[in-house]
């Protein structure tokens, strides 16, 4: 066989499969004549080497003819110790072992979260005994970004939720002449359930993701280790201010969402049911108990702790690559929303038990 042209990495793709498909003449001796090859690089030399080895494997004797300047290349390739066709295996785990592995990982995550909670408690307790060092500046900064800047979003969303609820409610109740019940529906739904849930979801998406990404990136660049090295607890400077900020912010946002949600419903009540705002608000004030309102606002701090802790924890779990920071951020948001809803259901069960 005679080879010619340039056997370089950008050209060689075309010749690659050729030798395999060739109908080799019968006989044992094969001459690979590459003396007409103008340019050769390592990939070319490797292809030549591989072809020769393949032929020898099938019991032929191969004579290679090369230009002298290409011999060094072939020597490099031959002595590299790389064997032909490293098998491309990607072991796919079986179903059972996959389930087991996931379960094991999840259990580990849960354990990690619990121990993170414990570490946080210890740090907080230590901050108590020593001179109480609340980092006001940082807390206020987080209140600003997580709360004040989230206010327009939370307000607008809850306003529209109120509008939608009132529309659905009035379509449902008006045929029975019970349009006034829209006030009960919206008031109860917003104040007790939707406002805290909605704000929690907004804050988890806005700030929780940011917390996970910030801490993850800080871990990647070694800032977390630097903090530890100068004797500052990363939990104290990074996690506690964020928890404190969300503890302040989430109840306030919830109250704002309450007000805007009811206001949205009020607008609809006026246009759809011709109910004056005074009448509407009076109905809300009469029918909604203070406990309903307090339960709703009271859930907010619980959600705040869940979001801050879960998201910071996920940030700390990030490894040293960009991929894992992204993955951890996703997990942080999904997990904190999940736990928020679980906590919400839990509160519901408790409130039923105690008849609140």
């Amino acid at each position: 066989m005679r080879c010619s042209g340039s056997w370089t990495v950008d050209r060689i793709g075309r010749v690659e499969r050729l030798p395999r498909g060739l109908a080799w003449r019968k006989g044992v001796a094969v001459v690979l004549d590459a003396s007409a090859v103008v340019a050769m690089d390592m990939a070319g030399a490797w292809l030549l080497h591989r072809t020769a080895r393949g032929l020898e494997h099938r019991g032929r004797t191969v004579t290679l003819r090369l230009r002298p300047e290409h011999e060094a290349l072939l020597r490099i390739v031959t002595s590299s110790g790389v064997v032909t066709g490293p098998p491309r295996t990607r072991d796919r785990p079986r179903l059972l072992s996959a389930v087991g592995r996931r379960a094991w990982i999840s259990a580990g995550e849960l354990g990690g979260l619990v121990s993170f909670f414990g570490e946080m408690g210890v740090t907080a307790a230590r901050a108590r005994t020593g001179p109480l060092r609340v980092r006001w500046r940082q807390v206020l900064q987080h209140v600003q970004t997580a709360g004040f800047e989230a206010l327009p979003t939370a307000a607008l969303l809850s306003f529209f939720i109120g509008v939608v609820l009132a529309y659905q409610g009035s379509a449902l109740f008006r045929p029975f002449g019970a349009g006034i019940l829209v006030a009960d529906l919206v008031g109860l739904a917003m104040l007790r359930e939707l406002s805290p849930l909605l704000t929690a979801i907004i804050v988890a998406g806005r700030s929780g993701s940011a917390y996970a990404a910030q801490i993850g990136a800080m871990k990647m660049t070694g800032e977390i280790d630097s903090l530890r090295a100068v004797g500052v607890s990363p939990i104290e400077v990074l996690v506690l201010p964020r928890i404190a900020a969300l503890l302040v912010v989430l109840p306030l946002l919830t109250v704002a969402a309450d007000v805007l949600g009811v206001a949205g419903a009020m607008v609809v009540a006026k246009s759809e049911l011709a109910m004056g705002s005074g009448e509407f608000l009076g109905r809300v004030a009469r029918e909604i108990r203070a406990s309903d309102y307090l339960l709703g606002v009271g859930k907010a701090p619980v959600f705040a702790v869940i979001i801050a802790v879960v998201c910071c924890y996920q940030g700390f779990q990030a490894a040293d690559d960009a991929d894992s920071v992204g993955r951890r951020t996703t997990v942080a948001v999904v997990q904190s929303m999940f736990f928020v809803v679980v906590a919400d259901a839990f509160v519901l069960v408790l409130s039923r038990l105690f008849g609140i």
Binding site: T8, E16, M42, A72, S80, V82, D323
Partner: protein, 261 residues
């Protein structure tokens, strides 16, 4: 290839009177230097003197204000995107922080330029990648590992394997031994020398590492105050009367890392 180091070697990088300003600050004030084929050329100088910038300019990643830069016979000042791509394909680069793609394994990192720029089949792709990994002295077991699982020295080697994936004629190294311990630094130097001899690679290396300057570089240029203040072999540069060069090497040579000049 290797034997072609004769009396008048071909100039592969010719930099003529390059001026560059960055944010109003003059960085290059008439830099002129030549890099010969098959040689290892080292650019030394204090930090902030524009060494890396010059490397970026040679790769057409930054455009100088005036002057001409010819790389592999092509004018890179005002080069088109298409041509620049083609030129960069003939050059391998290892940046200072190795910059391996963290979501890919070492083998995938090395195979990436091959996959993007050539039409090799999968097995051949894997084999060529394995070849390069072996060539930079990494064990085959390093292939399926992720960069975060490797030590700094191994990561640097992996980055080098990726840089030579397409068999470049010209290899650019930016501070290759920064952040390496002396032993791995020395091993890396030997590797660069080895590749230079083996493949006839021309190497353009930006460095502050004295071991590299003394033991590996064929030619050294010292950049200071925007121009080349001394050039030649390391012996010649170290004997320069320029106060900047003296200050740099006098203090630096007393360090244990300074090699047996």
């Amino acid at each position: 290839m290797t034997a072609s180091i004769t009396s008048t070697p071909e100039i592969v990088i010719a930099i003529r009177d390059v001026h560059t300003r960055l944010g109003g600050v003059v960085i290059h004030d008439g830099v002129t230097l030549d890099v010969y084929r098959g040689r290892i050329f080292a650019l030394a100088g204090p930090s902030g003197c524009g060494k890396t910038l010059l490397l970026r300019e040679a790769l057409a990643l930054h455009v100088p204000d005036s002057g001409s830069i010819r790389v592999l016979g092509r004018d890179v000042v005002g080069i088109g995107d298409e041509e620049a791509l083609e030129l960069r394909q003939r050059c391998g680069v290892v940046f200072e922080r190795a910059a391996l793609f963290s979501s890919l394994t070492v083998a995938e990192n090395v195979a990436l330029p091959l996959r993007e720029r050539t039409r090799l089949g999968r097995t051949l792709l894997d084999e060529v990648a394995a070849l390069k990994i072996a060539l930079v002295g990494l064990p085959p077991s390093a292939g399926p590992k992720y960069p975060s699982q490797l030590s700094g020295g191994m990561r640097r080697r992996a980055a080098l394997a990726r840089a030579i994936a397409l068999d470049p004629e010209l290899l650019f190294l930016d501070e290759p031994s920064a952040g390496l311990d002396p032993a791995s630094g020395r091993e890396f130097e030997e590797l660069v020398r080895h590749l230079n001899e083996l493949l006839g690679l021309t190497v353009f290396v930006v460095t502050r590492d004295l071991g590299l300057l003394w033991n590996v570089a064929d030619h050294v240029a010292f950049l200071g105050e925007g121009r080349v203040v001394a050039a030649g072999t390391m012996q010649e540069v170290s004997r320069s009367d320029d106060p900047m060069v003296r200050a740099y090497f006098y203090r630096a040579r007393s360090e244990p890392a300074g090699a047996q000049g």
